[in-house]
């Protein structure tokens, strides 16, 4: 039987919430909340956990509590060992909430990609994979980052916008398996309100579409209710320099820093150029 990535996402309540697994086996399994939680009988109300949450989902009244609507299940509060009483507990996550952990906790591996984190291998293995080739621009749209986080409703709007322009999300991107209607880019309705620290979408467009890309991004910037960071993957010119200046109008924003694959794995895997 073929197991799709969507099957994985749906079944990952037991696969990814590893620390909850042993608890599930106990007789108290039914009483475990379906989200990360703070055991009120252990919490001493010191407030040490409040600032560590990247989504500002922990509030302190007399005791600290996690707001499940805002929690992205990233696990930072749990891993930080900030609680002196070990009161921060893993929940028994169920679909579609499992998506939060898969997209927000970098120690949760996407079984669809085999990659830790929320994306694919991107440029990191491009010297062996030839994913981004000369003549094309790889486009990475990371919603929710920095700081604000994103609902999958916003993710859907980006996919639909690119789809309307003729560009589909790459099939091995973890988000692709959440698409219910490939012709429009609509996502499964039950995932739309789920929240993640970020979700990374990848597209490949022809190198002649640089200006069009900037227009799409400006339009999305006016339409979305969160932020998104954008990067482009570009094959180096034969002399090793970047073709960025040739593909985008002068004055286009970029940073003086970024990532560069050095080509050490070139030729080890025989793949088509």
């Amino acid at each position: 039987m073929k197991v799709t990535r969507r099957d994985f996402f749906k079944s990952s309540a037991t696969l990814t919430a590893t620390s909850a697994l042993s608890s599930c086996l106990s007789s108290q399994a039914e009483s475990i909340p379906a989200h990360r939680w703070i055991d009120q009988s252990l919490c001493i109300g010191c407030g040490g956990c409040v600032p560590i949450c990247p989504m500002s989902a922990i509030q302190l009244n007399e005791k600290a509590q996690i707001n499940p609507e805002e929690c992205a299940e990233c696990g930072v509060c749990y891993r930080s060992r900030v609680c002196p009483k070990d009161a921060i507990k893993s929940g028994r996550l169920r679909w579609p909430r499992t998506l939060r952990e898969i997209f927000s906790n970098p120690l949760s591996e996407h079984k669809s990609t085999g990659v830790l984190g929320r994306g694919t291998e991107g440029i990191k293995t491009n010297d062996s994979a030839n994913r981004y080739q000369a003549g094309f621009i790889g486009v990475f749209v990371e919603l929710g980052r920095p700081v604000l986080g994103t609902r999958f409703r916003e993710v859907e709007r980006v996919i639909k916008k690119f789809k309307a322009k003729g560009y589909s999300i790459l099939e091995d991107n973890p988000v692709a398996e959440l698409i219910a209607e490939p012709e429009t880019g609509s996502l499964l309705p039950e995932v739309l309100d789920e929240k993640a620290i970020s979700a990374l979408l990848e597209f490949i467009i022809p190198e002649s579409a640089g200006k069009e890309l900037l227009v799409i991004l400006q339009e999305l910037g006016r339409e979305l209710e969160t932020v998104f960071s954008v990067s482009v993957a570009l094959r180096a010119l034969p002399d090793g320099s970047s073709p960025f200046k040739n593909l985008f109008p002068s004055g286009t924003f970029t940073l003086p820093n970024g990532k560069v694959n050095l080509g050490f794995a070139q030729g080890i895997i025989k793949r088509k150029e």
Binding site: V50, P51, I52, C53, S56, R81, S104, P106, L107, E109, G114, V115, L116, E121, I123, K124, T125, N126, D127, A129, Y132, F140, E142, R145, P146, V147, L148, S198, L217, G221, L224, E225, V227, S229, V230, S231, V232, A233, L234, R235, A236, G240, S242, F244, F248, T252, F253, T254, L255, N257, G258, K259, V260, N261, L262, G263, F264, A265, I268, I269
Partner: protein, 237 residues
């Protein structure tokens, strides 16, 4: 994982302040016999060149599902020698992971690492069919300098086009410089503001705050040296 392309605050006017080396195996090669040993060997070489931070450095007592039974040994070892356990982590993680990372604040050390890799390690990978890619993240001018000095050439770039959307809801640029040091977004605005407040009230020194900042970042790519400088600047405000 496009995150290190979005780090804020680096300037060609101040070269050499930060370089991240990242190694990655295509996921379908993760279980190829011997490739984990090649990654572990790389982890050892990385440590030999004295990085300031590295993957899971701060997580020696945290459950890391990928480590399996080695987790217990790591925790036992940490009780006896925390500093050595931090260094053991990268070797254990490298052997089971598709990715390892380390951060330097000295270009010469990175050049030395690249030259060491090119002397034998890359050739062995070619011979054994291990497609382990090496990626540098930092100023493009610094990366080009490293390439020239280690006789290699840029293959693929990842460059930022910036931040779009409701950017008016974001904190100030200096805070963003700290927040974007963790590309998975695990360092939040509240945490940064709390650390700045503690530095301003002298509850923490800038150095202590920089080490605290690095704690949530599992990849070990927060730059504690640059963070200390930023906390010092913010504390004066």
């Amino acid at each position: 994982m496009s995150h290190t392309s979005q780090r804020r605050g680096l300037s060609p006017a101040e070269p050499g302040k930060e370089l991240i080396v990242l190694a990655m195996i295509p996921s379908e090669y993760q279980n190829k016999t011997g490739i984990g040993s090649a990654m572990a060997e790389l982890g050892v070489m990385m440590l030999k060149h004295h990085p300031e931070n590295w993957i899971l450095k701060n997580f020696t007592t945290t459950k890391i599902p990928q480590l399996g039974p080695a987790q217990g040994f790591l925790e036992w070892f940490y009780q006896r020698s925390p500093a050595r356990a931090e260094r053991l982590t990268i070797r254990l993680v490298a052997s089971v992971s598709t990715v390892i990372t380390a951060l330097w604040t000295d270009k010469e050390k990175v050049i030395n690492l690249l030259n060491e890799l090119k002397s034998d390690w890359v050739a062995n990978n070619q011979k054994n069919g291990y497609p382990i890619s090496i990626v540098l993240s930092g100023l493009f001018s610094d990366i080009h300098h490293c390439c020239q000095k280690s006789h290699c050439q840029e293959h693929t770039y990842l460059q930022s086009l910036g931040i779009f959307g409701v950017a008016q809801n974001l904190p100030g640029e200096k805070e963003l410089e700290l927040i974007t040091m963790c590309g998975h977004g695990l360092v939040g605005n509240n945490y940064v503001r709390d650390l700045i407040r503690k530095v301003q009230t002298q509850e923490l020194s800038p150095k202590e705050a920089s080490l605290k900042l690095a704690e949530p970042c599992v990849c070990g790519i927060v730059n504690p040296i640059r963070a200390e400088e930023i906390f010092s600047q913010l504390a004066k405000k």
